[in-house]
Structures are given as C-alpha cells and as structure tokens.
C-alpha cells in the first residue's frame, strides 16, 4: 500500500523511466513528471495521513547490522511534505515550457525527479542512516542540476559540492558518535542515548549537526556556495532549489535540535540568556547573515542573484527564530518557512518566465514590461509584498510571529538586527519590481514581448491565492503548525482563537479586518476618483517632465536599476559591502592545494631508487620504534 515508506520511490523511478522513455518520445518526460507530482501531492495530502505515527520498518535486504530503515509520518513531516509536494508540482508545471527545447531536456527531468524523491525521503525517514542517504542523494542530484546549463562557471559547481559534501560529512560524524552511544540509528533509541551523553559530547555533536544544516541554509560563514549556485542553476530549477531545498536545512535543524538532541539537553551544556550557547551563536549568525545578505542583494544588477541573496537573508530570519529554541520561535520559523517557500516559488517562476521571454536577466537591460506582462507584474507585486512582510498578505503574519517570539523572550538585540535587514528589504523589493516592470524599456525589443507561457499561470495564480489566504486568515495555518510542533514535542505557543486572528504572547491582530478595511477604502477612493473626476489623459511614454528638454527614443531613462549605488556612501553599510569572506576560503583552498602539490612532488618524485630507500627507511623505523 502506498505510504510514507515507498512514496519516495515513485519520483525516483519515474525520473529514471522518464529519462529513457523520453529518448523515444520527448513529451513523455513532461507527462510522467506531471503524473508523478500529482500522485505525490495526492498521497502526501490524503494517503499518508495527518498524524499516523506509523513506522514502516523497511528491511530491504540491508545487512542485519543496520536493523533496517524506518519511515514514518507525523504532523511535523507532514507539514514539510506538503511544502515539498506542492512545490514539486508547481515547479514541474513551470519547467515544461521553459525546458522544452533545451538539449539537457532528458537529464533535467531525471535529476529533478530524483531530487524530489530524495526530499520526500528526508522528510519521512525515521532513522539516521536513511536520513543521511537521502540527504546525500539530494546533494549530488541537485549538483547536476546546478552545473547543467553550459554558460555557468565551473567553479560554482565545485564550490557547491565541496561545501555541501563537507556539511553532510560533518553530520555523518555526529551521527556515528551518536550511534556509538545509542547502539542503533533509530530516532527513539537516539533520543534515549543523548540524555546519557556527557556535556562535552552533546556540545560537540550539536556543533557538527549545526554545521551540516547551516551549510544547507546558507548561513553566513558557510554561504559562499549559495549566491552562485542559485543564480547559475537551471532557471526552472531555482524555485525548487531556493524554495524547498533550503527548507530541508530548517527541517533538519528543528528535528535534530528540537526532538533528537533536544534544546533542553544543549542548554544544559553552556547556558546564556536561558538558551543554549550554540543556539544563541547560531541566532546571531542568522541575524548577521540577513543583514549582510540584504545589503548585498540591493546592489545586485542580475535578477536571480538579487533573489538569491534575498533567499539567504529570509532563511537567516528562520535560523534566528528557531535557533533560540523557544516554542513561539520555532512556530514562527515554521510559519515563515512556508511563506518564504511560497514567495520564492512565485518570484523565481515568474523571473524564469521573464528571462525565457526576453532572453535578458539583468535589470539594466529590462524595464517597462508592465504593459506587456500584466499577470507577471501582479505575481511579482504579490511576491514583493510578501517578501517585505507587508500587512495585507501572509508575509506579515509570519514575520509578526517571529518578532513576537523574540520580544517575548527578551532577545531585543537580535530583534533590532532583524529590523535593520527587514527594513532594508523594502529597497531590493522595489528594485526587483521597478527594474523589470516599471520605468522605461531599455531596448526596443522589450515592446514586442509576450506574456509568460501558459503553464506558468497556474502556479502563479495558485501561489498568489495562498498568499492572499494567509493574509485574510493568518490563523488558518496555526492548527497545522501546532500539530507539527506537537510532532517534535514542543508546547503550544499561540493563543489565537479563530482563523481570522493571529495572537500570541504580547498582542495580536485580525488579518480579516485589516484586508477588509484596506479593500473598502481602496474601492471607495477608486470609485470616487474614476467616476467623479475628469478622465485623465493618456500621456505618451516620453511626455515626462525632463527639465523642459525633450527625451527621444534612445535617451537612457531606465534609472531604477541603479538602486543601491548610494549604499556605498553609508559608512556601516559600505563597509559591509566591501568585506568578502570568500577571500578566507580561497586562501584555505590555495593552502590545501599547496600542501598537496608539495606532498605529491616530495613523496612521489619518480626516482625508483628513492622508492627503495623508503622501503628500507620504513624497516629501520619499525625496528627503532617497535623493537625495544
């Protein structure tokens, strides 16, 4: 019967099938992928059941040594499974037109399906080995999707693989240490074993786990791979990459620090401001990430690089919210994870459509597309309202919960750091929508551009609806979050009653009233303005106040892409833009390859006689060292 344990195989098998079947009939790939995504959505929503804590031991002929994989489903995995399933559906829909005539058409669908399967595996696995296996499959299959389009730099792929593999191996070391205490990899046995560990071991394994997950969430010191990887990965895969893959880091962090190791155990080790030292440091890393990444996002000229940095910043909020380990914080992190993946899916799909249609991906080359692509304009408008966290839509609700959690637990300085970055976020939100849609078209070609392909409309419209839904009923998601939290053993944080309101520790707000008031006023003023006033004249594009001069077709009027140039002059911000941590990593890289080449030339220097000398010397050393 289809359940959490074999839902994982469906996308992987279909991916492989699609690859080979597609060699005969090309559109089979799209059909199979769509089929598999629909089926996955169906199973995740209905078949897997909201909180069936079923454990499907799945001894598929593994050495008795591992006493079998275990899969299961509870509120927490269901919450993330829904995110994965729906983004899998939307991204596959969006990718049909975009990848149709690319030469890597086959391998795209192969690896895309494998990644989706791997994510489901991660979310449903109930023991460390299967968690790690699917984590590694996700790493290498997403690697192939990153390096797929030919015009990317080779360095991007290598940086991506080195960071992610290193993170995964850090996690593996911690798992092995836990295994040596627990004697088994299953979560329930692990939870018991962690409590009897000594403080220093708990600190060491939580440090290693933190590294593993922070690499995936691209938090500051470990984020080097993220901007390039997000920008240069295949356009239609980036929504899945930034929208869902980074959420696996969130899932892992909460699962391991919430349930397996338990915040209370880590707190016992070194405590600061009634949370664990590691949690506090990671929270500060999250804040630093969001501030640096936001300012870095503002000055970008490439659309996808701006969105990449914005993803890093937004995930930085999630890291801060959950790292301090309070119930409300984790709830805020879960809520923001959902909202952020909805927004990033919406924005990246639309941007991919725009790039597909115009062939340009820089703000300085675009502009004035609002008349040609109204639906995409609306989609990006909804997206930036959510990204900036403005009230009418869900973005505000999740940020509100995070702010409330930080205030309630007295982490004021963390909150101030977060405010700096969330206010600066308005700048890159405006730059995103101005650079592409408003202002003047930078080249004539942009005037004949058509709207994004039909397939993209479905995800765009549905995602817009979701954003409005979370705006109308901010409390609607709360029961799901609470079941998720109970799944990992956290107490209930909200005290909001109905779906309309969202209220927690210090206050609350009624999303329904906010939107109705906004809507009513808007309608009133709009009607009053359109009917009771003389119709305004439709001015020509160039009929603008240009200090009495007459701008012609090729005067550069699309100034908006330069937003952020003034940040250099602001002392603190300018300094943050100039510091690059990549230099540190390049130096270590050179160091290692320096050692490698010295070692290579010294040890293997090609002279047969020296090799014989090595043999004799080893013999002599064995005699001396072991002889007495």
């Amino acid at each position: 019967m289809i359940g959490p344990h074999n839902i994982v195989l469906i996308p992987v098998v279909i991916g492989i099938l699609a690859y080979f079947a597609g060699k005969l009939v090309r559109p089979v790939r799209e059909g199979l992928t769509l089929l598999s995504s629909l089926f996955v959505c169906y199973v995740v929503l209905f078949k897997a059941g909201l909180n069936t804590i079923g454990i499907y031991t799945y001894n598929f002929s593994l050495p008795q040594y591992f006493d079998g994989f275990r899969f299961g489903n509870n509120g927490f995995s269901w919450y993330f499974a829904v995110i994965i399933a729906f983004s899998y559906l939307f991204v596959s829909l969006a990718s049909f037109p975009l990848v149709k005539d690319k030469e890597y058409h086959g391998s795209f669908y192969l690896f895309f399906n494998i990644v989706a399967g791997a994510l489901l595996g991660i979310v449903y696995s109930r023991d460390l080995v299967s968690f790690f296996i699917f984590w590694e499959i996700m790493t290498w299959s997403s690697y192939f999707l990153v390096v797929m389009n030919p015009n990317t730099k080779g360095k991007t792929g290598l940086t991506y693989i080195v960071f992610n593999v290193a993170g995964a191996y850090a996690m593996l070391t911690a798992m092995l240490i836990v295994y040596s205490y627990a004697g088994s990899f299953h979560f329930d046995r692990v939870v018991k074993a962690v409590s009897l560990m000594t403080n220093s071991t708990v600190f060491f394994i939580s440090l290693l786990f933190a590294i593993g997950f922070l690499v995936k969430m691209a938090t500051m010191p470990l984020h080097i791979w993220a901007p390039d990887a997000y920008t240069e990965s295949e356009d239609s895969f980036t929504p899945f990459f930034s929208g869902t893959l980074s959420k696996m880091g969130v899932y892992g962090f909460i699962l391991f620090f919430g349930m397996l190791i338990g915040f209370v155990n880590i707190k016992g080790v070194y405590e600061i401001k009634d949370t664990s030292l590691i949690g506090y440091i990671v929270a500060w890393l999250g804040v630093v990430t969001s501030v640096f990444a936001t300012f870095r996002a503002i000055v970008q000229d490439e659309i996808k690089r701006l969105l990449a940095y914005s993803s890093i910043a937004q995930v930085g909020y999630i890291v801060t919210a959950m790292a301090v380990g309070t119930a409300l914080g984790v709830a805020g992190a879960l809520y923001h994870a959902l909202i952020h993946s909805v927004i990033k899916l919406l924005l990246f799909i639309t941007v991919a459509g725009v790039i597909y249609r115009t062939g340009k991906n820089k703000f300085s080359e675009l502009g004035g597309l609002i008349t040609r692509m109204p639906l995409s304009y609306l989609a990006v408008l909804f997206g930036i309202i959510g990204l900036a966290g403005m009230p009418p839509f869900g973005g505000f609700a999740s940020k509100w919960v995070i702010y409330m959690s930080l205030i309630k637990n007295h982490y004021y300085f963390l909150l101030i750091g977060m405010i700096v970055s969330s206010t600066a976020a308005f700048l890159y939100c405006y730059k995103l929508i101005y650079g592409i849609f408003l202002g003047h078209p930078s080249s004539q070609g942009l005037m004949e551009v058509k709207e994004v392909p039909g397939f993209l409309w479905v995800p765009q419209i549905v995602l817009m609806m979701v954003l409005m839904l979370t705006g109308f009923f901010p409390g609607y998601i709360v029961p799901f979050i609470e079941t998720a939290m109970k799944g990992i053993g956290f107490s209930v944080a909200f005290n909001s009653t109905s779906a309309y309101t969202l209220s927690a520790a210090l206050g609350g707000f009624n999303g329904f009233v906010v939107i109705n008031v906004l809507g009513a006023i808007f309608v009133f003023v709009f009607v009053w303005y359109t009917l009771f006033f003389p119709k305004s004249k439709r001015l020509h594009r160039l009929d603008i106040y240009w200090a009495a001069e007459t701008p012609d077709e090729n005067t550069p009027l699309h100034y908006g892409y330069g937003i952020g140039a003034e940040l250099d002059r602001i002392p603190w911000v300018g300094m943050s833009l100039r510091t690059h941590i990549t230099r540190f990593y390049e130096k270590t890289g050179e160091q290692i390859s320096g050692i490698a080449s010295v070692l290579k030339d010294v040890v293997f220097n090609g002279d047969g006689q020296i090799y014989m000398l090595y043999a004799i010397l080893t013999l002599v050393s064995i005699f001396l060292l072991m002889g007495r």
Binding site: H410, I419, T423, Y434, V513, V514, R538, D543, E566
Partner: protein
Amino acid sequence: MSTGMRIVDIIAYPFIAFLIGMLYMGIARNIIGRIHRRWGPPVLQNLIDVFKLYRKREAGSHGVMFHLGPIIMVTGVVTCLYFIPMLSDGRWLKGFSFDGDLILVTYLMVLGALGMALGVGQGGVPFGVMGVTRGLTRLIGLEIPYFIAIIVLMAHYNTASINKIIELQAGGLSNWAMFKVPLAFIASLFSFWGMMGASPFDIPGAPQEVASGPATEFGGKYLALMMSSRGIFGFLKLTLWVDLFMGGAANLLILVGKTFVLFVTVLFVTSVYSRFKVEQAVDFMWRYPTIIGLIALVIEMVR
C-alpha cells in the same frame, strides 16, 4: 453607541484627521513665514490649495498603476489611521485599533509609501525613482530608533496593543511613558521628525534636487490626493506619538492640544536645519538616536 453612530464615527474618522492635518500644515507655513519676518499665507491656505487641485480640469496619467499609485497611498495612510485610537475613552473615535497592534501599525505606515512608489515607477520620471530610492534609504535610518523605542515600550508595558499602553499610562502626568522611559521618547522623537519630513530629513521630496521627488509626474487631482494623504499622515503620526508617550487623549480638545505641542517641536527643527544628504541622514540616525535608544533598552532590560 448604536451601529448608526458607529458608522458615522468610522466615516468621520479620516475627515477629522484630514482637516486637523491640513490646519496644522497651514499653521506651520504661517509660523515659518513669521520666523522669516513675513506675513506668511493664511492658515487655511493648504485647504484652499487642495481644493484648487481637486478642481483642476485636466490630469495626465501614464497607465493604470500610475492612476492607482496615489489611491494606494491614501488607502495605506487611512488604514493605518484606523488602527490608531484617536480618543482613549474606548467609545468614540477608536477606529479598529482593538484588532491590530503596534507592529501592524508600524508596517502599515510604510504600506502607503510603497504603493505610491509603484505609481511613481510607472510614471517613468527618473526624478521619481531617485526620490523613492532616497525615501527608502532614509527609511532604513529612521526605522531603527523608532523600533528600539517601541521595543522598550513593549518591554516596559509588556503588551503590544496601543489601547492597553494608553490605559497603563492613565493617572496624571507622572506616569506618561514620556517620563517613564524618557530616553526612548527622545530617540523616537528623532525618527518622528524624520518621518514627518521635517527639514533635515525631507530628502525624498526635495524640490531643488529631485524636482519634488515622487510627486514629479503627478499633477491635478493626483497631487490633491497626495497632499491630503500627507496631511492625514502628519496627523496620524502625531496621534500615535501622543497615544504611545503622552497617555492618549480623553477628548478631541486634549488630543488637539497635545498634538499641537508635539507639532511645534517639528516646526523648530524644520525652520532651523538645512537638508541632509541621504547617507548623512542614515548615518545620523544610526549614531545618536540609536545609541540613546540602546541605552534606554539596556536600562529597561536591567530593570
């Protein structure tokens, strides 16, 4: 308090703010005139200006978003107004403040400006975009001291709803927040002047440099809408500061009195200081007001 009265109360809400706001702007121009040793325009000048703009026969528009820009601005400002209680007696003129809290109001204040920015964007005037960019960059500077102040407030009164803060300040001058958390009030004052567009901080709409910034391409009826929303916005901030730091107002007269006192401080600043450059404004905001705010925060945490 029948529903009929409630509806009248709600509909009257923005118009009261509009009138008082325009009145204050008129008084401001008059007082600044008097500072320049000249008569200055009549107090109702701003109202006349707005009425003249409403009766303009022509208006040009660059597209739907251009047309909606000022409309969204007014919507944002009026919605934000509705979530701030003018009077503290809980019956009259309380708008919808019981359904929202301080963080919602903070974000709603910026909503209008962002909607406007979209309209400016379609206007296509480079001056407009420059004005918007300056406005948003200045916002980064302003938001920090303001947010530190409201954090101190929330921490001090352990609530985020404005009405509850007003109640906790009841009982005489001594337990106004202004005196309970004086440093936070001072820090918030700086950002208050900034948001009011007082002279050192009126960077976005500087007529000399960016030809009135966002409002460059808007004429006739759109300009009227923008001026009236700026008037309402002025009054909105005044009532918010009165509610948060001066214990709210029992009736309209007290409200006007307190807001006028606060408004006079803006005048002093506007007429004396010349305009900052954007980076100077942000740097200034992150230097003195933020430090004062942080001190207030530390005091608050210690207690």
